[in-house]
């Protein structure tokens, strides 16, 4: 090969490399432009129904049903995550009814049909779905119980759904059936009695969220339970503070203008205080004084409702 032809070959190669690099850059730029200029889908089109139902997906997945179940599970998490991220304010995982999560039930249903022993989607259905579609939440959880009759956790989820719906008798039944499973924790029997005796008391709620926090493997569920526990503690604290404010009003004839005015009482009760003697909520944010009432700080991590 002559020097001239070698040089010509190198020029050709360099030219081709330039075409490849420039082509890729152009394609990437065009792709970005197209993404930003595409007309947004309306909510109904974005929440397109699934092409396959659970049974069909199971048949078509051959030996890969476990992997397909993982795929649908992760799609469920992404689906909820994408909707939450667009919200201007924090919302709780168990209070997402406003988000129009109409594809969530089919996604979780398909994940659990592909792998009926996969327990996490049932838990997610029990926590998130009741505010979206309670019938589906109960159906999917019962489906899980049919497929995993020895999984006591599923009875706990079912009891939680009924408790949220204030159907305390059904919740007590769910805990009662769960208590009969070998290996079920002792609190099941206690929860049955508590559901019948105390209904929707804070102690019952505290016990439910405490168990959920301790037993869930899902970080988002754990976080929701942690915040609900903080909310219950905060409700107790606010009850105490309201009593103090009422007593102060009775004694002086007016409501305190600032927390400083009742600081000695707060200190004597060992209420944790932040700057300007404001009492601290369980997340560490100062409570806001509103006349003779107390409210959560807008920056507080404690859920308002």
């Amino acid at each position: 090969m002559t020097q001239l032809s070698m040089k010509s070959d190198s020029t050709k190669t360099a030219g081709l490399v330039i075409i490849i690099v420039a082509g890729l850059l152009a394609a990437a730029s065009l792709s970005r432009w197209l993404d930003s200029h595409r007309a947004p889908l309306n909510a109904d089109a974005a929440d397109e129904s699934l092409y396959l139902n659970g049974k069909t997906a199971r048949r078509m997945s051959l030996a890969f049903n476990g992997l397909a179940a993982d795929w649908y599970w992760m799609r469920s998490l992404q689906y909820v995550g994408k909707k939450i991220i667009n919200l201007p304010e924090n919302v709780e995982l168990d209070n997402l009814g406003q988000l129009n999560l109409k594809t969530l039930a089919p996604l979780l249903d398909t994940a659990t049909s592909l792998d009926p022993q996969f327990l996490d989607p049932y838990e997610y259905a029990a926590v998130v779905l009741p505010s979206v579609d309670v019938e589906q939440a109960i159906r999917i959880t019962k489906k899980g119980i049919d497929a995993n009759p020895n999984a006591w956790k599923l009875y706990q989820h079912l009891g939680y759904i009924y408790w949220q719906q204030k159907d305390f008798q059904a919740a007590a039944d769910a805990y009662s059936r769960g208590a009969q499973i070998p290996g079920a924790p002792r609190f099941f029997a206690a929860m049955k009695a508590r559901m019948l005796a105390e209904d929707g008391s804070r102690d019952t709620a505290r016990e439910i969220y405490k168990q959920m926090f301790e037993q869930s493997a899902d970080d988002s569920v754990k976080d929701m339970a942690r915040r609900r526990l903080m909310q219950l503690d905060s409700m107790d604290q606010r009850d105490v503070l309201r009593k103090l404010l009422t007593a102060y009003q009775t004694r002086t004839g007016h409501c305190p203008a600032t927390w400083k005015e009742i600081e000695p009482v707060l200190r004597s009760l060992r209420v944790p205080l932040v700057s300007e003697a404001a009492p601290m909520d369980p997340s560490g944010a100062p409570y806001v004084l509103k006349g003779c009432d107390v409210d959560l700080n807008p920056k507080s991590e404690v859920p308002g409702k």
């Binding site: 051959l62 030996a63 890969f64 992997l67 179940a69 992760m74 998490l77 022993q117 988002s220």
Partner: protein
């Protein structure tokens, strides 16, 4: 494999073992089939597999809601089956065809090598390739599990019996690919083997069809298909493995026995078909 490469080991075998029977010749052919697969860079799929698992181990935790161990097992074992099935089908269908196309088969059969020995040697060579593939992938999945668990994970022990079942499934698939390639073109053989892979996983449906059909003829047809085609769903233990459930030793032994029987039948059929072909 070309004639000169194969001729040398076979000559060596003859010199060293004299008339020691078929076994040394089969081993020589198997060894060459394995070397050929390595030369053809079949094992390069391991690089892709390792990249996939590494990416999964690092990123899947954020996406799976605390289910990274389960996803690693599902992804690792499913990839093992998928990659293995592709190798079994696409390399398996070329085992015989390449020898015919390159005309090296004439040189091979000019030596004292039987048709059955040739097929069995080729089969065992590809099985060895698949074994290396499965073992390396298994080590990769085990390491990924240890990484995501931050230490020893009992799932590591549970996944190996499931991997043994995957390997048995791949052995059956390789035998089927070899059978089709003994009388058909590579493209058609690959398609037919792929169909067998799919239908093999629908065997439960075939059985229920056989029992639910109204006409006796249809019942017989589906029952025959059920018993004729390999029941590959017996080898699907990926999902239970992800839940930490291992197959019992008895179940593994019976599936191994079923696999050996089925492979023997398919290889015997391949030998019968291949023996009728004229290479003179």
């Amino acid at each position: 494999m070309d004639a000169t490469q194969l001729a040398k080991p076979i000559e060596q075998v003859k010199v060293s073992h004299g008339d020691a029977g078929s076994f040394p010749r089969i081993i020589a052919i198997a060894r060459n089939a394995f070397r050929e697969a390595v030369r053809d860079r079949v094992l390069y799929n391991l690089v892709l597999f390792v990249l996939l698992l590494t990416a999964a181990a690092i990123f899947i935790g954020e996406l799976s809601g605390g289910q990274e161990r389960r996803v690693i097992v599902d992804l690792g074992l499913s990839s093992m089956l998928l990659f293995g099935a592709f190798i079994a089908i696409f390399v398996g269908v070329g085992l015989v065809y390449k020898e015919i196309e390159k005309r090296t088969i004439y040189a091979i059969f000019s030596k004292p090598v039987g048709r059955g020995e040739f097929l069995l040697g080729k089969y065992l060579g590809l099985c060895l390739t698949l074994l290396v593939n499965v073992v390396v992938m298994g080590l990769g999945v085990s390491l990924a599990l240890i990484y995501v668990s931050g230490g020893w994970d009992p799932l590591v022990l549970v996944i190996w019996p499931a991997m043994l079942l995957i390997y048995l499934e791949l052995m059956i698939l390789t035998a089927v690919a070899l059978l089709f390639s003994s009388f058909s073109s590579p493209a058609l053989s690959a398609l037919l083997t792929f169909f067998v892979f799919i239908i093999g996983h629908f065997s439960a449906d075939l059985k229920s069809l056989a029992t639910s059909m109204g006409s006796t003829g249809a019942r017989w047809l589906f029952a025959s298909l059920y018993y004729l085609l390999p029941n590959l769903s017996n080898y699907s233990f990926i999902t239970p493995a992800a839940h930490g459930q291992a197959p019992t030793a008895h179940f593994v032994a019976m599936t191994m026995l079923y696999g050996v029987c089925y492979i023997a039948v398919v290889l015997a059929a391949a030998t019968v078909v291949f023996s009728r072909r004229n290479f003179k």
